[in-house]
C-alpha cells in the first residue's frame, strides 16, 4: 500500500516538473542564442488557452498540444519581430509579452471557464495494480517522456552539433558571429521560436494534463520559475532537469502537506514554498558566481546590431 502512495507521489512530482522543464528548456535555447525573453509566462498562457480551446472543440488532446505549440511560437514571433526586427528593448518587450499573454488568455478563455475535457492520459495505458513500481517507468503521459527526450536532444545539439555551436556563438559574441558570416538575427529568431513553442507546450500541460479544465491565469507564475531555473541550471540542460524535478519535489511536498492536513503552518506559507525555494536557490547560485555567472552567454539580452 505504501508503495502505491510513494509511486503516486513520484508521479505528481514528475507532473509538476514537466511544464517548467519544457518552458525552461525552450528559454535555455533562446538565451543561449543571446535573447532574453521574459515573456515565458505569457507564452505559456497563450499555449494553455489555445490548447484547451482546440482540444475542447475538436475532442483531440493531441491536436490541442500541436495548437498550443503553434500559439507559443506565434507569441514568440511577436517578440522576435519587436526585439530583433525593430530593435526594441528585450526586457521591456518580454514583460509586455507576459502581460499580453495574461490578457489574451483571459479574453479567449472567458467562454471556457469551468468547462472540462478528457485529460491527456498515460502513453502506455495499463493496469499497474500488480506492479505499482512499473507505473513509475511506463505510467507517464507523452509530454513527460517528450520533455526528457528533449533534454537529451538539446544537450547533444548544443554540445555536439555544428548548428548548436553556431547558436552558442551568436549568444556569445554576435558581432564576431556576424563578421564570420553567420545570420545572427535569423538564428536568434529561430531560437526564440523554439523557446516559444516549448513554452506553449508547457502551458498546455496545465490545461490539458494537470487540470483538464480552464481557469484564469492557470499557470500561476510557473513561467517565472522556468526563467529562474535557467539561471539555476547555469544554462546547462542536465542541470535544468535536476532543477525542474527539485522544484517538482517542493511543489509535491506542498500538495502532500495540505492533503495530510498539516495545520500548524498556514496554507499560504505552504503555497509559498516553491517560490521561496526558487529565491533561496538563486541566491545560493549567485553567491557561487564562479559556477553561476561565468556560464551566462556573453551577449545575453544585448541587441544586435548594437545601437
Amino acid at each position: 500500500m505504501t508503495s502505491v502512495i510513494l509511486v503516486s507521489i513520484f508521479m505528481t512530482l514528475a507532473a509538476a516538473a514537466t511544464p517548467i522543464l519544457l518552458a525552461g528548456l525552450g528559454e535555455l535555447v533562446t538565451e543561449k542564442a543571446g535573447v532574453l525573453n521574459l515573456g515565458v509566462e505569457g507564452m505559456m498562457l497563450c499555449g494553455a488557452v489555445t490548447g484547451f480551446a482546440v482540444a475542447y472543440s475538436s475532442g483531440s488532446v493531441t491536436l490541442g498540444l500541436v495548437a498550443a505549440a503553434v500559439a507559443g511560437l506565434l507569441a514568440a514571433m511577436i517578440f522576435a519581430l519587436l526585439t530583433l526586427g525593430l530593435g526594441s528593448n528585450q526586457v521591456a518587450t518580454g514583460l509586455a509579452l507576459t502581460i499580453f499573454g495574461i490578457g489574451v488568455s483571459s479574453l479567449f478563455g472567458a467562454g471556457y471557464v469551468g468547462r472540462t475535457i478528457q485529460r491527456l492520459g498515460p502513453l502506455f495505458p495499463a493496469d499497474y495494480a500488480a506492479h505499482p513500481w512499473l507505473r513509475l517507468v511506463f505510467g507517464h503521459d507523452a509530454l513527460v517522456y517528450l520533455s526528457l527526450l528533449l533534454v537529451l536532444a538539446v544537450s547533444l545539439f548544443l554540445r555536439r552539433t555544428r548548428a548548436g555551436l553556431i547558436l552558442r556563438a551568436v549568444g556569445e559574441n554576435a558581432e564576431s558571429a556576424h563578421a564570420i558570416g553567420y545570420r545572427v538575427l535569423a538564428i536568434r529568431a529561430a531560437a526564440t521560436g523554439f523557446g516559444g513553442a516549448l513554452a506553449g507546450l508547457g502551458g498546455a500541460y496545465f490545461s490539458l494534463a494537470l487540470t483538464p479544465m480552464w481557469a484564469d491565469r492557470l499557470t500561476a507564475g510557473r513561467g517565472w520559475i522556468a526563467l529562474a531555473l535557467v539561471v539555476f541550471a547555469a544554462w546547462k540542460p542536465g542541470r535544468l532537469l535536476l532543477g525542474a524535478y527539485l522544484f517538482g519535489a517542493v511543489a509535491t511536498f506542498e500538495l502532500q502537506a495540505k492533503a495530510a492536513g498539516i495545520n500548524w503552518v498556514a496554507p499560504e506559507v505552504l503555497a509559498m514554498t516553491p517560490y521561496l525555494a526558487t529565491i533561496v536557490v538563486l541566491t545560493m547560485m549567485s553567491l557561487g558566481t564562479r559556477t553561476g555567472g561565468r556560464n551566462a552567454p556573453a551577449c545575453l539580452g544585448k541587441p544586435f546590431p548594437a545601437p
Binding site: 555544428r162 555551436l165 553556431i166 552558442r168 556563438a169 556569445e172 559574441n173 558581432e175 564576431s176 558571429a177 563578421a179 564570420i180 558570416g181 553567420y182 561565468r294 556560464n295 552567454p297 556573453a298
Partner: protein, 519 residues
C-alpha cells in the same frame, strides 16, 4: 592609378575606383590597386586612413558604394565573408572575432565553412601548430588566453582554409623576434606556394623585410605605391602621415642622483585559477627619470604583475610594493593612484576604460584622485570636460569630443586617449602594458615621446610590452618576465636582440613544440 587592362588580367586581386562612405565620413575614395599571385603586398596607413574599411570590403564584411573588384581577372561581388572565403580569401583580424566562452577548437570550427568532425579538426590543427611551432592548446577556453595566444587562433583558423589571398591585419604586434622570423618564413613559404598576402602593419622595417609591394593610404585615398625593399622606412612613414616624422628627443637628464621611486621586492602571488601564472619572488626598482622595460611573451605573468602593481590584487606583504618608501602592498587601487602610482592595463575596453561611458566620465574614473575633478564628491563637469578636451587635443585623439563614448573610438584612438589621461596627471610612477598596441606609427611616436618627457620630469616609468623594438627604443634598462619570474634588469645599451629573445623563452618555446612533435 588604374592598372592597364593587360596587367589586370594577371592579378589575383584588383580594385578599381572603390569608394565607401559612412554618414559624415568618406572612408575610402577612388581606391585602385592590385595584388599579384604569390605577392606579399603591404597596405600602409595611419589609424582612420581607411585600411580597415578597405579590407572589410575585400573580405565581404562591408560593401563598397562604388567601384569594382576583380578576382583572377573576373569582376566579382563579395556580399559576405562566406563568399570571400569561397573565393579563397582568408583574414586575420586586428580585433579578433573570437568567442570568449568557447574553446580554441570550437572557435576554429566556427570559422570553417566545411563541416569537419571534431577529432579530424583537432588533428589538422595540431599538424599546423606543429609545422609552424605555435604553442596553443585546442581545448582551452579563449577567455583564459593572452592576446598573443588569441592571435594564434586566428592565424591557424586561416591557414586551415588553404587560402589564395591571406589578409593579415597587424599580425606581429605580440610576437617575439624569433616568432616573427618564424611567421615571416611561414608567410614567405605560403607566398612561394602561390598564395597572395595583403599585409597591414605600421612596423615599416617588417614591411621592408617581408613585402615586395606597398600601397600607402592617407585619409581614405591612395597616396603612393612603392617597392618597400628599395624605399626608405622614413620616406614611407612620411608618406603615410603626410608630414615629417619626428624622432624621439631625449631631453638632458635632470642631473639628480638615481633616486629609487618604485621598489618591488619579494612579490609572490598565485595566478587566478585555472590558467593564471604565479608570480614568483618578483623584485625590481624603477628610478626617477628612467624607463624600465619589461619584455616577455604574452601569458608569462604580465597581466598578474600589472594587477599586483595597480592594486586590483593586493600583495600578501605590505612592503612588497613601495612608492618613495611608502608601503602600498595593502592599499587599494584608489589609494595607490592618490599616492601617484598609475597603471594602464593592456585591455582598453572594459579594463582601462568603460566602453559605454563617455570620455569625460572615463576621465573622472581615474583622474579624480590626482586632479580636483570631484573635490567634495560632486563632479565638476566643467573641469572634467576641459581636461578631456586637453587630452584629446594634446594626443590628437580623433573623436567628436568629451561626450563621445569610449567604446565608439577605434582601438588606437582610445589608447591615445587613455595614455594621455594618465600622463596628464603627472604620476610619480606610471606602469603601462602595451602602450602602443595597434596604434599607428605617428601616434606611437607621440605616445613614446610623451613617456620620455614624463620620465625627464622625474617620474619613473615601467613599460610592460611584447614589442621588443619599442622597448629597445624607449627603455633605459630592460628585464624579461618568463613563467612568472623576472630577470635582472640590464642597461639597454649593448644588449643584443637575440639575447633578449632567448631570455623571452624562444628556446623554451621550441622545446615545447619539439615535445609536441614527439608526443
Amino acid at each position: 592609378m588604374t592598372q592597364p587592362p593587360d596587367e589586370t588580367a594577371s592579378l589575383r586581386l584588383a580594385l578599381a575606383h572603390v569608394s565607401k562612405s559612412f554618414p559624415g565620413v568618406k572612408a575610402n575614395q577612388d581606391i585602385s590597386f592590385g595584388v599579384r599571385p604569390g605577392e606579399i603586398h603591404a597596405l600602409l596607413g595611419e589609424n582612420g586612413a581607411g585600411k580597415s574599411t578597405l579590407v572589410k570590403i575585400i573580405y565581404g564584411v562591408q560593401r563598397a558604394d562604388e567601384g569594382e573588384i576583380r578576382w583572377d581577372g573576373h569582376p566579382v561581388e563579395i556580399p559576405s565573408p562566406k563568399a570571400a572565403r569561397k573565393l579563397g580569401i582568408g583574414m586575420v583580424f586586428q580585433h579578433f572575432s573570437l568567442f570568449d566562452g568557447m574553446t580554441v577548437l570550437e572557435n576554429i570550427a566556427l570559422g570553417l565553412d566545411e563541416k569537419v568532425p571534431a577529432e579530424e579538426l583537432k588533428r589538422r590543427i595540431k599538424a599546423i601548430l606543429d609545422s609552424y611551432s605555435l604553442p596553443l592548446d585546442p581545448d582551452r577556453e579563449v577567455h583564459t588566453l593572452s592576446v598573443g595566444e588569441r592571435q594564434r587562433i586566428e592565424i591557424v583558423r586561416c591557414l586551415l582554409q588553404k587560402p589564395k589571398l591571406l589578409i593579415m591585419d597587424e599580425p606581429t604586434s605580440v610576437l617575439t623576434p624569433q616568432e616573427v622570423e618564424r611567421l615571416f618564413d611561414t608567410l614567405r613559404q605560403i607566398a612561394a606556394e602561390g598564395c597572395s598576402i595583403l599585409y597591414i602593419s605600421h612596423k615599416l622595417h617588417e614591411i621592408k623585410a617581408l613585402c615586395s609591394a606597398a600601397t600607402i593610404l592617407r585619409a581614405g585615398r591612395v597616396v603612393a605605391t612603392c617597392d618597400p625593399r628599395t624605399e626608405s622606412t622614413r620616406r614611407m612613414a612620411e608618406l603615410m602621415i603626410g608630414a615629417e616624422l619626428k624622432s624621439i628627443e631625449r631631453p638632458a637628464g635632470t642631473g639628480e642622483a638615481r633616486r629609487a621611486r618604485l621598489v618591488v621586492s619579494g612579490l609572490n602571488m598565485p595566478g587566478e585559477p585555472p590558467f593564471g601564472t604565479d608570480l614568483k619572488t618578483i623584485g625590481f626598482t624603477a628610478y626617477a627619470g628612467e624607463i624600465l622595460g619589461i619584455a616577455g611573451v604574452a601569458g608569462n605573468g604580465q597581466a598578474e604583475l600589472l594587477l599586483a602593481l595597480s592594486g586590483e590584487r593586493r600583495t600578501a606583504s605590505n612592503d612588497a610594493v613601495k612608492l618613495d618608501g611608502q608601503a602600498l602592498g595593502h592599499a587599494d587601487a584608489g589609494r595607490r593612484r592618490a599616492a601617484g602610482l598609475a597603471c594602464v592595463p593592456e585591455e582598453r575596453n572594459g579594463h582601462a576604460a568603460v566602453p559605454d561611458f563617455s570620455l569625460a566620465d572615463n576621465v573622472v574614473l581615474t583622474a579624480r584622485h590626482r586632479l580636483p575633478l570631484a573635490p567634495s564628491g560632486l563632479i565638476r563637469q566643467g573641469a572634467v570636460d576641459a581636461y578631456a578636451r586637453e587630452v584629446i587635443q594634446r594626443f590628437d585623439v580623433r573623436t567628436t569630443g568629451p561626450a563621445a563614448l569610449a567604446g565608439a573610438l577605434s582601438g588606437g584612438n582610445l589608447q591615445k586617449f587613455i595614455m594621455g589621461r594618465e600622463i596628464g596627471q603627472n604620476p610619480e610612477v606610471l606602469v603601462v602594458e602595451q602602450p602602443t598596441w595597434g596604434v599607428d606609427a605617428g601616434a606611437a611616436a607621440a605616445i613614446r615621446q610623451a613617456l620620455v618627457d614624463l620620465a625627464a620630469r622625474g617620474s619613473a616609468i615601467v613599460v610592460i610590452s611584447q614589442d621588443l623594438d619599442e622597448l629597445l627604443e624607449l627603455a633605459d634598462r630592460l628585464c624579461v618576465i618568463n613563467e612568472g619570474r623576472l630577470s635582472e634588469a640590464r642597461p639597454v645599451a649593448g644588449l643584443k636582440l637575440e639575447e633578449i629573445g632567448l631570455l623571452m623563452g624562444g628556446v623554451h618555446g621550441e622545446a615545447v613544440a619539439a615535445d609536441h612533435a614527439h608526443a
